[in-house]
């Protein structure tokens, strides 16, 4: 049976076809069906994906690899530049500089927000963390194909490492942000400590979403082309440049925009860093129709927005923040793990 079996494929080289094999002994396959033989000797399919808990364990074993890979990538990213690692601090500084030039010096826009510069820079930095994590993880699989094809390791280590790179960058940005916020006249308060849990949740969200994005980017090449446009749309609807509550789209949509993950993490960190934000937040003061209406029509005095009703309760933002982080992690991890055996295909 072995020979029939071997040549059973469509368009087979019947008896060797053009090759002269006369008188040549061919190794016979065993009589047992091969799948059965494999089972008898405890052989496993090579492209099998490990069960989810075993996969997590493998991933945990690779934690040193993840950190070493992130550090190495980070260093390699700046080796071509003469200033090297200094760019890690320069990039957020220049970013802030551009916004200061345009919004602080040229336009003098406040859009009904006290300390607009602090509001804007915080929003930009926080959104940037998620944006960079998404863009970099969307190409991680195709970029690391040689590594994937050379060595066997849980592939989730790669997007994880890329998010860690962005986290390192974000921590430096936060130092720059602290200095800027102080320069705009905000005080240092205990509220600043709330940045830590907020950043932690955002990182978890980025890991989960990054895993999903990594899988999408690995088999749909168009995805990484489309992503910058999706990210820009997300930026505009997440209240980075303006207060979502001032949009003229109806309360239902405002509520939806306010609880989107990017807006949640931005609001949490703004409220932690900026006293003006906490004090002017709708609902911060008892409702006062006259003062609220004045603010809505004139957009001043800037902090009278505090006398309006909030659309979504700011006290619930922490719950939304945790929910988004957990949801993204569970769904993203599962989604990525499902295709684990296929990433080497390219």
């Amino acid at each position: 049976m072995s020979n029939d079996r071997r040549l059973s494929a469509p368009g087979s080289l019947q008896g060797g076809g053009e090759f002269d094999l006369s008188g040549l002994a061919t190794a016979e396959l065993p009589d047992t069906p091969l799948a059965e033989l494999a089972a008898q000797h405890g052989l496993r399919p090579s492209a099998e994906r490990p069960p989810v808990f075993q996969y997590m364990r493998h991933l945990w074993q690779r934690r040193h690899f993840i950190m070493a890979f992130a550090t190495a990538r980070n260093i390699a990213m700046y080796t071509e530049a003469r200033l090297g690692q200094v760019w890690q601090v320069l990039t957020p500084l220049l970013n802030a500089g551009v916004y200061f030039l345009i919004f602080g010096l040229l336009l003098h826009i406040n859009r009904g927000i006290p300390n607009y510069l602090g509001f804007l820079v915080t929003g930009v930095f926080v959104f940037n963390f998620t944006q960079r994590a998404f863009i970099s993880t969307s190409t991680v699989i195709t970029e690391s194909l040689p590594l994937i094809r050379a060595l066997r390791f849980p592939r989730a280590a790669l997007p994880l490492a890329y998010v860690m790179i962005e986290l390192q960058q974000m921590l430096l940005s936060m130092l720059v942000l602290a200095v800027i916020v102080l320069c705009t006249g905000e005080p240092i308060t205990w509220y600043w400590l709330l940045v830590i849990p907020a950043l932690l949740m955002q990182t978890i969200f980025n890991v989960g979403a990054g895993l999903a994005v990594a899988r999408l980017g690995s088999n749909v090449n168009d995805f990484s082309q489309l992503l910058p446009f999706l990210m820009r749309t997300w930026l505009y609807v997440s209240g980075v440049l303006f207060n979502i509550a001032t949009l003229d789209v109806g309360r239902k949509y405002i509520a939806l925009l306010q609880i989107n993950p990017a807006a949640i993490y931005i609001s949490l960190i703004r409220n932690a860093m900026l006293e003006t934000q906490r004090e002017s937040e709708p609902g911060a003061m008892p409702y006062n129709k006259v003062k609220c209406d004045t603010w809505q029509h004139l957009k001043k005095p800037l902090d009278w927005s505090a006398y309006c009703h909030p659309v979504t309760n700011p006290a619930h933002y922490w719950i939304y923040g945790i929910a988004w982080a957990v949801l993204a992690l569970v769904v993203g991890f599962y989604f990525f793990w499902r295709a684990e055996a296929k990433y080497g295909r390219g």
């Binding site: 260093i75 080796t79 080497g344």
Partner: protein, 274 residues
């Protein structure tokens, strides 16, 4: 093969289909024409290449299996499938333990130094930090790249790069080692070293697959050979020398002169001792 032998790799009617994106560029070359013919039933710019078509074999513990065949016959694809990097379309490959693939094309991270690549490679294979530290000197030593170890890998010659990759992947005792022409780029000294390492790995109850165009390499290293053509097995067996002679005849090469008693090649020069 005696029945008591332990199979390490079993391929059971294995089919592998590649999906190629962006194959629409009409350059009019033979390769694109072939893709066009083979991928007729696919949509858009995604083409399918049926690279392995129903391959079955069994490799046992301690085997060194040579895979020969012309370019594009599916040798490298077969190794990738054994390593679990390409999911089968139909049929399956079964392995006992993990398979490590060593190839000339398998670059690590080119813009990082050799040093970092060694550390990352070891950690990726699941070694602990301490183990990595312990293995580091022997890997660098084995690769023979010397002072180049603290330069980025893109500064390496192709020979140096593949030596370092071989050294990294061969540092861990693998159950199954798949070598894809990695030895072809090394110099004579490195070939001797890597032969010794392959023998060692075989001794550790492992199985080695070797893809090489250098048939002498296969003859010296392997006790079994698989001859592939167009994604199928033409013939396979332990009669390595006979199969290789047929292969040479089929591809129109000059027959090898052999000693009638031992079957060894007769060389004008003295061959390198292994």
């Amino acid at each position: 093969m005696a029945a008591a032998d332990k199979p390490m790799v079993i391929a059971d009617d294995l089919h592998i289909v590649y999906r190629v994106f962006g194959a629409g560029g009409d350059k009019g070359t033979a390769a694109t024409a072939l893709l066009r013919i083979m991928g007729r039933k696919t949509r858009g710019s995604i083409r399918e290449v049926h690279a392995i078509r129903g391959v079955s074999f069994v490799a046992y513990r301690g085997d060194a299996v040579g895979v020969i065949g012309r370019n594009g016959s599916g040798k490298t694809t077969l190794l990738r499938a054994i390593a679990g990097l390409l999911p089968p379309e139909q049929g399956n490959v079964y392995t006992d333990g993990e398979a490590a693939l060593l190839g000339v094309n398998a670059a690590l991270l080119d813009d990082l130094t050799g040093e970092r690549n060694v550390v990352l490679g070891c950690l990726a294979m699941g070694m602990s930090k301490a183990e990595t530290k312990e293995k580091f000197p022997s890997i660098v030593d084995f690769s023979g790249v010397g002072d180049f170890i603290d330069l980025p890998m893109k500064a390496y010659s192709s020979g140096m790069g593949s030596r370092l990759r071989f050294a990294i992947a061969a540092s861990k005792s693998q159950d199954i080692l798949l070598v894809d022409e990695a030895l072809a780029t090394g110099d004579a000294e490195f070939r001797v070293k890597s032969h010794a390492r392959i023998e060692e790995l075989r001794g550790d109850a492992g199985t080695v697959f070797l893809v090489a165009h250098n048939l002498e390499e296969v003859e010296q290293t392997c006790n079994r050979v698989i001859w592939m053509e167009r994604g199928q097995i033409v013939t396979q067996g332990e009669n390595v020398i006979e199969i290789i002679d047929r292969y040479i005849a089929a591809s129109g090469g000059t027959p090898v002169e052999r000693d009638p008693v031992t079957g060894k090649r007769i060389h004008a020069r003295v061959p390198a001792k292994t």
